[in-house]
């Protein structure tokens, strides 16, 4: 059947992507990009806290942060639904005060993606923080830099390989997010129907194998591209920062 699909010639007839696929692809990219960029500052902060600061309850904080990694995504989606939904405790408050609603919108999909990919991002950045030589930071202090300037000019640039790989890993995880998204914000075409959700719809529909296979190939292409980009960016960033001087 796979060979039928691949060699029938009908798979990529006409425009490269159909309107429907383009919509799902762009939505997926938008949701993942927003999820990664919006959670990045918090991710850096959490990674820094875990790598550099000793505080009571650190082990619990660390475990809580990793929870979305081990919980079934449907549980995460359900928790988001009851907390961040229009009727949820936080969701209601956000809607009343700021007019922000996550329910049944792409913002909710981005939130779900951010939550499940957050531990992966923090892990990568944290490891990178741990490899930054504290002696370089000390040297910068003796050169007249405040703690904040040292963080911005020394620590953060030297962490950049980890930040880049953390972002890409989180982006890839967000692209694949399914369980918590469908639980939290349902499967609405054009609003929350990302590629995995669109594919799920096709698989559920009898006779839509071609469409499902096309989405499958698009997924593989995006995943490969982001992995290659990750390797290239990390290599580029490492070139400058890896050597100890």
């Amino acid at each position: 059947m796979l060979s039928d699909v691949l060699f029938s010639g009908s798979l990529f007839d006409g425009p490269l992507l159909s309107e429907y696929e383009t919509a799902a692809l762009l939505l997926s990219l938008k949701v993942s990009a927003v999820a990664v960029l919006a959670s990045l500052p918090l991710g850096i902060l959490c990674a820094w806290l875990l790598a550099r600061v000793e505080f009571p309850g650190k082990a619990i904080f660390d475990s809580l942060l990793h929870l979305p990694l081990v919980l079934p995504p449907v549980v995460v989606g359900y928790l988001l639904l009851i907390s961040m939904g229009r009727q949820g405790v936080i969701g209601q408050w956000l809607y009343n005060w700021f007019g922000i609603s996550f329910s049944f919108s792409w913002r909710g999909a981005a939130l779900a993606a951010a939550v499940v990919s957050f531990p992966l991002m923090v892990r990568a950045i944290r490891q990178s923080f741990e490899t930054v030589d504290i002696r370089l930071e000390q040297a910068a202090r003796t050169l007249g830099s405040s703690r904040w300037r040292v963080f911005l000019t020394i620590t953060l640039p030297l962490t950049s390989p980890g930040i880049v790989s953390g972002m890409i890993i989180a982006f890839a995880r967000s692209l694949g997010e399914f369980g918590s998204t469908i639980t939290f914000v349902s499967n609405i075409p054009g609003e929350t129907r990302t590629i995995p959700l669109a594919m799920y719809s096709f698989i559920e529909t009898p006779g839509a194998e071609y469409q499902a296979m096309r989405l499958c190939i698009i997924s593989i292409v995006i995943a490969l591209a982001s992995l290659l980009a990750s390797q290239w960016l990390t290599k580029k960033a490492l070139k400058r920062t890896a050597s100890v001087c």
Binding site: R135, T142, G144, S146, T241, S243, V244
Partner: protein, 361 residues
């Protein structure tokens, strides 16, 4: 004056120093490894905090227990570490200008040419040799226009050729810049070449402090110097060169003369001459027909048997100067050496080379 009066518990070691150091020239902090040298300069630089006490640099109070603790970036103290600690993501130029608060092209050019790093400016630290890295690190610290410079064994991580390469830069630095330098080292060779002043640490306690020659020759110093490295430091001036042989005649302050190997470059400055105790021998009568060029009349002051009983360290008075000699207990017994006895000290001319002679600043 740099006033230090601090206490700090470091694991087993209790660092306790109470002293005043001059704010000019190079002060060497000498001691064996683990004596607390690096810990002391870290406290001065603000990288660690004393348990109690006070530190002030000139009129600026840097630290006072429970009231003042200036962070490192506010102390205006440059720090050159044992490893260069250059920032790998900045070019050499970026590293140099990192700590400059405002543009000062004149200062920049002066420091860059003083250290001979003009050609390295656009390169990145990972392409530099050890000596080059250390020169950049020194320049980077100087360009913050510090009130004082701390140097923690800046030559220790370098091999011998690199040390020889860097030492002249440090000498020029010490002479050209009117900047007080605290220089940590366990190498008496480096201290001889660079320092004017010396502080000796042992197990966290200060055991001597003062002008270099005075501390070098002091009784307190003797137990902490390895047996083979015991030496005397005498001050002298160049008198003339030998007309026929490559040797130079030095005149010591009280008129004794000393022939040393090589033709020293002429200078009117006071020189420091190191004479290793192992290179000094003793006669009770004036020897005849000896190859040894230097014969100095003196009087035995003290005798100290070494810890292992294999040597006796003699302190000989040469006028106002003092000279250490290592001899065997056998020789000591046979010559019946006792304090007060008149003797002749012999020093081979070939043992004193340029490594043993340095200009005073």
């Amino acid at each position: 004056m740099l006033n230090i009066n601090i206490e700090k518990q470091l694991g087993q070691l209790q660092l306790k120093v109470n002293t005043q150091l001059p704010l000019q020239g190079v002060t060497a902090v000498f001691g064996r490894s683990g004596a607390g040298k690096t810990s002391l300069v870290n406290l001065l630089g603000g990288l660690t905090t004393p348990d109690k006490g006070e530190i002030s640099l000139g009129d600026t109070l840097l630290f006072k227990h429970k009231t003042v603790n200036l962070p490192p970036e506010k102390r205006q103290i440059g720090y050159v570490f044992q490893e260069a600690r250059l920032f790998p993501h900045y070019s050499v130029k970026g590293n140099l200008t990192y700590g400059m608060r405002h543009k000062a092209p004149e200062l920049f050019n002066k420091v860059v040419s003083l250290l001979g790093i003009e050609k390295l400016l656009s390169r990145y630290p990972n392409t530099l040799s050890g000596g080059e890295k250390q020169r950049v690190a020194i320049g980077r610290a100087l360009l913050t226009s510090p009130q004082m410079l701390l140097m923690d064994e800046p030559l220790a991580s370098l091999d011998l050729p690199r040390k020889r390469e860097l030492l002249p830069y440090l000498q020029t630095l010490a002479q050209e810049l009117k900047l007080p330098i605290v220089y940590v080292s366990h190498s008496l060779d480096e201290i001889l070449q660079l320092a004017d002043h010396m502080l000796v640490l042992h197990q966290g306690k200060m055991i001597a402090q003062g002008p270099l020659t005075q501390v070098w020759n002091s009784e307190q110093m003797r137990p902490w110097v390895p047996l083979q490295e015991l030496s005397s430091l005498l001050s002298a001036r160049i008198a003339d060169r030998h007309p026929d042989y490559p040797m130079t005649r030095l005149l010591m302050d009280d008129g004794n003369q000393l022939w040393v190997s090589g033709q020293l470059p002429p200078t009117h400055k006071q020189l420091k001459v190191r004479i290793q105790a192992n290179h000094v021998s003793v006669c009770t009568e004036e020897p005849k027909g000896s190859s040894i060029r230097n014969l100095l009349q003196g009087k035995i002051k003290e005798l100290y048997p070494s810890d292992n009983g294999e040597q006796i360290q003699l302190k000989i008075a040469l006028g106002k100067d003092e000279l250490w000699a290592n001899i065997t207990p056998w020789a000591c017994d046979e010559l019946q050496l006792t304090p007060g006895k008149d003797i002749y000290a012999q020093i081979k001319g070939v043992t004193m080379t340029q490594m043993d002679i340095a200009e005073s600043h």
